[in-house]
Amino acid sequence: MSEFLGEVPGGVVPARRRWRRVGRPSLLLILAALVPTVLIALPVVYVLIRSWDAGWSGIVAELLRPRTVLLFVNTTTLTVCVTLFSVLIGFAAAWCTERCDLPMPALWRVLCSLPLAMPAFVASFAWKSLGPEFQGLPGAILILTMESFPLVFLPAAAALRSMDPGMEEVSRSLGHGPWQSFVAIVVPRMLPALGGAALLVTAHMLSEFGALSLLRVQTFTTAIFQQYELQFDNASAAVLSAVLMLLCLPVAWAEMRLRKGARFAKVGRNTARRGSPVRLGRAKPLIMLVFVLLAIVSLGVPFGRLLYWLVKGVSAGRGLDAIVPALWGSLSLAIPGTLVTTLVALPLVLLALKSRGPIARLADRLPYIVHGLPGLVVALALVYIAIRVLPAVYQTSTLVFAAYAILFMPLAQSAIRASAELVPREIEEVARTLGRGPAAAFLSVTLPALAPGLGAALALVALELMRELTATLILAPTGVTTLATEVWSHTNDSAYAAAAPFAAMLVLISGVPVYFFTLRTLNGQRSRAVS
């Protein structure tokens, strides 16, 4: 259906149909896709085995406890509110910077992207040290929305830029008002970008631990941690994890539905023409004031508190010599972890594009199901399996990379897929007819064409891995610390001043992938249009 929108520029055959013409995927590709599939299956199997240990009656009893109901209410309230507010704020901000005559749009764009560099648990630590008012569900919704809306802003801004203003102009010329045109033309075309971003935020909220623990909000994820801290065996933690996986199912399903309509977003990508901006008129100063307020709440407060603790406190000097090993630990886990995660995700994307069979589709979907699982559960699964099956990799960085791949594969998949869907299959076939083998053709032709998606995947995954806390805590080799684990352990001991230098360094380092990601998202559309 979506292929017949009648807007396909130049009458080019849609990408997906081109792919379908091609024969079966190679054995090599299938084998390569097996690796991520097996990895993803590990935590699922672990959760099922451990839940089974609780027995049917145990599972039912656990599910019917009033506490489980409370956890369910908290988890869904938090997730729905943060996602909704992030989408509203992110979309509104993107509309203002991309479609209106707002002065200094570049400044507002940067201010709306920068909160990405602030890990949620660092922001929470900053807010929490400000006062108790920010604890609890309302505070958590505020703080997490402030750190999440850039995840919506960036893709929304990119989509608005690439959208052909022609359709809107046609709608207006047919007598529809600006609002009508907006709802009828712009909103549907924004849905894939907004939906993808919303699902990212949702998955973050389901698995968030550090921030919520600091803000005293109990969700399934924090309860799983509590079980783990309380009990020497964790059957009931496994039952809660299984519930969390079930909560991820509708999310994964929604992502799949949205992607079916994904052709919307691609349409008109070759048009660089910008429509005439919406005149804000007298609302201009008011909107700028709102942007300033947004920047103060999302950036000013956390950065200000961080600086305050950096300067203040007798513990400031303590443990400062630990910053170099922690920085090294962060980089030596995050950089190879990013490469591994992206590499592992690549065959899944290629396989799903080449084969529409149910197995390929399942392999493609599986990562999204565990995406909402907390790092702790994935880490425990890997500990359980490594000790029994592969003791040689236990407490090595290999196991950390495996956990990273399991946790963040969907991010890499989505980013690579965006590029892969744009690559005409014919290019690779031309290379084949010119005498290249399939692998050589892939390496010399397809892979370079995937570069933008791979770049986005690398930046996004690197950003996530820098701040990954719980899997790293459990799986890292003994003696290895990272910036995130140091911030966490100092904050836990209420040594805010001691935590501050690590937190500041973490934000600084996170700025690098944020810079690349922002640059790519906001400028990628334009440069492609030029070429």
Binding site: R24, L27, L28, A32, R65, P66, R67, G131, P132, L214, R216, Q227, Y228, E229, L230, Q231, F232, D233, N234, G313, V314, S315, R318, G319, S332, L333, I335, P336, L339, V340, L343, V344, V383, Y384, I387, P391, V393, Y394, Q395, T396, S397, T398, G437, P438, A439, A440, L443, L473, I474, P477, T478, G479, V480, T481, T485, N492, D493, S494, A495, Y496
Partner: protein, 340 residues
């Protein structure tokens, strides 16, 4: 149907090679002989002791930090494949739990002799190193110390609604539950927890609870004594809005708990591991530990630099670490009271 060409294989091997290479950036394990310390105790005292130990003996220590109960379950999960040499636990029940599983070896007689008999395992598999006390922390401007109740059980009442902070996750709180159960009976312990659930306010940790009292968010907190001292060091003792209250007279509100260590059966550096635990209870080691955390040294003759209530004036609940055991029933009670 599938024809795998040599080039495909080479390309595949190349991709695999990259993955393996990137995995090998960090050495899998250090080559030098280092003690692997699983640490559940707060980091400042451990870092101080490790530095002193390495300086005194030349033996390096790699520390794996975590929560005590969590590390204990990890050790149980690892079983015979554990890479750990020493387990330093914030709480004795975690040590008792792994001792029960037969994961610890007896400590050297001299090590055990360094601290009073009450504070090490009967079978000699672990020893306490420092002790701390359950206390009530109160906000000085919100409440008069005279109006604090004579027993910790009294906090679980409507009169104290929204005025008591407590942390069910805290290992020390769980020991306090067991102490209440031992001294007053299981029903009283359950009623106490249900009352706290109804009238108290749950915090994620003792330190968060103490901070909440300090900031005026809530009147009182059930906590370990040293969290107050840690905050006092951060803020400055003279600027503190909160103070410590010892209930005393044998009430479970004043409970002595210990932090300690044991040597793993799987240790490949058993001598060095024994040396480490011996150093923990030596005069030098004890001074290093209690200089970094406001806990009581268990070795007689060592003095804490913190302004602690003298150990012999605490008049604590008559419950020993051995009686607390693995504190298993605490979890069952917490679940029955819907706190976990």
């Amino acid at each position: 149907m599938y024809d795998v060409t040599r080039r495909q294989l080479i390309a595949g091997a190349g991709l695999g090679g990259v993955a393996i290479l990137s995995g090998a950036v960090l050495p899998a394990r250090a080559d030098t002989v280092r003690l692997a310390l699983y640490n559940g105790q707060h980091r400042p005292p451990v870092e101080a002791l490790v530095a002193a130990f390495t300086q005194a003996t030349g033996i390096e220590v790699a520390t794996r930090n975590g929560n005590s109960a969590q590390l204990a379950s990890q050790l149980i999960e690892e079983g015979p494949n554990s890479p750990a040499d020493v387990f330093w636990s914030e709480e004795s029940p975690s040590l008792a739990a792994i001792a029960e599983k037969g994961l610890l070896v007896p400590l050297a007689a001299d090590t055990l002799a360094a601290v009073p008999e009450t504070y090490h395992a009967k079978d000699g598999t672990w020893t306490g190193a420092t002790a701390r006390c359950r206390v009530v922390v109160y906000n000085k401007s919100m409440i008069e110390p005279a109006s604090l109740p004579p027993s910790v059980l009294d906090f679980a009442a409507e009169a104290w609604a929204d005025k008591v902070a407590f942390a069910p996750n805290s290992g020390a709180f769980q020991q306090q539950i067991v102490a209440v159960s031992l001294l007053k009976g299981r029903d009283a312990a359950l009623a106490w927890l249900k009352g706290l659930k109804q009238y108290g306010r749950v915090y994620n940790s003792d330190s968060a609870a103490v901070e909440a009292v300090e900031s005026g968010e809530i009147e009182t907190a059930l906590s370990n004594n040293y969290y107050w001292h840690a905050l006092a060091r951060e803020i400055g003792a003279d600027d503190m809005q909160s103070a410590i209250h010892n209930i005393g007279h044998g009430d479970p509100g004043t409970l002595i708990t210990v932090s300690g260590a044991g040597v793993l059966k799987t240790s490949k550096n058993a001598d060095a591991a024994q040396k480490f635990v011996a150093f923990m209870v030596s005069a030098e080691g004890q001074a290093a530990i209690v200089g970094a955390i406001a806990e009581y040294p268990l070795r007689p003759g060592v003095v804490s630099p913190f302004p602690l209530t003298p150990f012999d004036q605490l008049d604590p609940a008559p419950v020993t670490p051995a009686q607390l055991g693995t504190a298993e029933d605490a979890l069952a009670l917490l679940r029955e009271a819907d706190l976990a």
